[in-house]
C-alpha cells in the first residue's frame, strides 16, 4: 500500500514537473555573449586553425614508408593492388576475397594479416598504439593518413546499389539510433536533429542536417590539437563509444564497418579533405 502511494505521488509529481519546466529555454542572463554567438565565434577559431600547414600532414610522409614496409602495395583497396588514389572515396565496399564489406581501416587490418604476417591480436595492438595518448606517432595512424590523403579531391561515392553494402548501411543506421548502455545513449543523442546544439563549446554536427555528416567524415583522419596527434575514424568511434559509456570499442569490427557504411554513404558527394583539424 505504501509502495503504491509512493508510486502514485511519483507519477503525479512527474506530470506536474513536466508542465512546471515549461520555461526551460530561459534566456541567458547577464551574459556578454549568447550561446549562439559563442558557437559562431568558436567556428571562427576552427577556421583560423585550419589555415597554414596541418601538422597531421607529417604523418602522411611517415606513412609512405610504413606503407611499403608492411607490404601494403600488395593490398587491393577496391581499385587494384596498391592503388590508393581515390580508394577512400569508394569505401566501404564488398570484397570477395574477404567475403565481407570493409571500410578503409578494416581493409588495412585484413591486408596486414595477409601481407605483413600479423596475427589478429598484433593488428589490434598496432591499431591501438596511440589510443589514450598524446603526441604519439604511430605507424598505423601514419598509414591511414597516407592512404586517406591520396583521395583528397575525390568525392565520397559509396555504392548502395550493392545489396551487401546496403545491408551494412541499414544495420549501421539502426545502430545509430539504438539506445543502449548504462547511460542510455545512442549516436543520435549528439549527432541528429534539426536544432543546433553544442557540447560544452563544441558545435555538434547532425546526420539530419544536409551535408553535415559528409563534412564530418570527409576530414578523417583529423589532427587533434589537444592531443597533438591525428585521430583515425575508428579511434573516433572508440572515443564516442567511450563517452557513451558502452564497453570498449573494437577496431575493424563489423560495428565499425556498419557505422562507416551509414556515415560515408550519408556523406555521398562530399569532397574528401584530409587531414582535418580540430580541438
Amino acid at each position: 500500500m505504501r509502495k503504491k502511494a509512493i508510486l502514485l505521488s511519483a507519477v503525479l509529481t512527474s506530470l506536474f514537473g513536466a508542465g512546471f519546466l515549461g520555461y526551460k529555454h530561459a534566456k541567458a542572463q547577464d551574459q556578454e555573449l549568447s550561446p549562439e554567438e559563442e558557437i559562431r565565434l568558436v567556428q571562427e577559431f576552427n577556421r583560423m586553425m585550419a589555415e597554414g600547414i596541418n601538422p597531421g600532414e607529417i604523418w602522411a610522409e611517415m606513412g609512405k614508408e610504413a606503407f611499403k614496409k608492411y607490404n601494403l602495395d600488395k593490398c587491393d583497396f577496391g581499385l587494384g593492388p596498391g592503388k590508393i588514389e581515390g580508394a577512400l572515396a569508394q569505401l566501404p565496399r564488398y570484397f570477395p576475397d574477404a567475403k565481407k564489406v570493409m571500410d578503409l581501416e578494416t581493409r588495412i587490418g585484413w591486408c596486414l594479416q595477409q601481407y605483413a604476417g600479423m596475427k589478429p591480436e598484433e593488428v589490434k595492438k598496432f591499431v591501438k598504439q596511440c589510443w589514450g595518448k598524446s603526441q604519439c606517432m604511430g605507424e598505423y595512424d601514419a598509414i591511414v593518413m597516407y592512404i586517406s590523403m591520396a583521395s583528397n579531391g575525390h568525392k565520397i561515392n559509396v555504392n548502395l546499389k550493392d545489396p551487401q553494402v546496403k545491408k551494412m548501411y541499414d544495420i549501421g543506421k539502426r545502430i545509430y539510433y539504438a539506445r543502449i548502455g548504462p547511460w542510455d545513449f545512442n549516436c543520435a543523442t549528439c549527432h541528429a536533429g534539426q536544432r543546433e546544439a553544442r557540447i560544452r563549446a563544441t558545435l555538434l554536427w547532425s546526420a539530419d542536417r544536409p551535408g553535415e555528416a559528409g563534412k564530418a567524415v570527409s576530414i578523417f583522419p583529423k589532427y587533434l590539437v589537444r592531443w597533438a596527434q591525428p585521430m583515425t575514424m575508428h579511434y573516433r568511434y572508440a572515443e564516442c563509444i567511450r563517452q557513451m559509456r558502452w564497453p570498449t570499442f573494437e577496431p575493424h569490427s563489423d560495428l565499425a564497418v556498419a557505422l562507416s557504411t551509414f556515415l560515408y554513404a550519408t556523406g555521398n558527394g562530399t569532397e574528401i579533405k584530409v587531414p582535418g583539424i580540430g580541438r
Binding site: Q135, G138, A228
Partner: protein, 108 residues
C-alpha cells in the same frame, strides 16, 4: 618515427622582389616543466628553443621560443625573394636536438 620531422612549404615560383610566406611545421612535444599527475615527480621541459630562417645560407630571421608555443609547432615567416635558391629552416631544442629542412624557390 621521431621528433623533428618537418615540412617547409613555399610557393614553387615567385617574382623577383616578391614577399612570400615561408610556412613550416615540425613534430615536437613542446612540453613545459610539469609534475607527473600519477607520481607527483617533476618532469623537465622538452621544447624547441630556436629557429633560424636562412636564404641561400644568409640568416634572415632568428626566432627564440619556449614551451608556450603549441606542440608540433606551425610557424609562418615572411621572406623577400631576390633570386632562385634554397630556403633553409634550422631548429634547436633544449636537449641538444638539431634539425634542418630545406625548400627550393624559383624566381621567374
Amino acid at each position: 618515427m621521431a621528433i623533428g620531422t618537418a615540412i617547409v612549404r613555399v610557393p614553387k615560383e615567385a617574382k623577383k622582389g616578391e614577399i612570400i610566406r615561408v610556412q613550416m611545421v615540425i613534430t615536437h612535444p613542446m612540453t613545459p616543466p610539469r609534475r607527473d599527475p600519477q607520481t607527483g615527480q617533476e618532469v623537465p621541459p622538452h621544447n624547441l628553443t630556436k629557429l633560424v630562417l636562412l636564404y641561400n645560407d644568409k640568416v634572415v630571421s632568428e626566432m627564440n621560443m619556449g614551451a608556450g608555443v603549441s606542440a608540433n609547432p606551425f610557424i609562418a615567416l615572411p621572406l623577400k625573394v631576390e633570386e632562385s635558391g634554397i630556403i633553409k629552416i634550422a631548429y634547436e631544442d633544449n636537449k641538444g636536438g638539431k634539425w634542418e629542412k630545406t625548400a627550393d624557390i624559383k624566381v621567374v
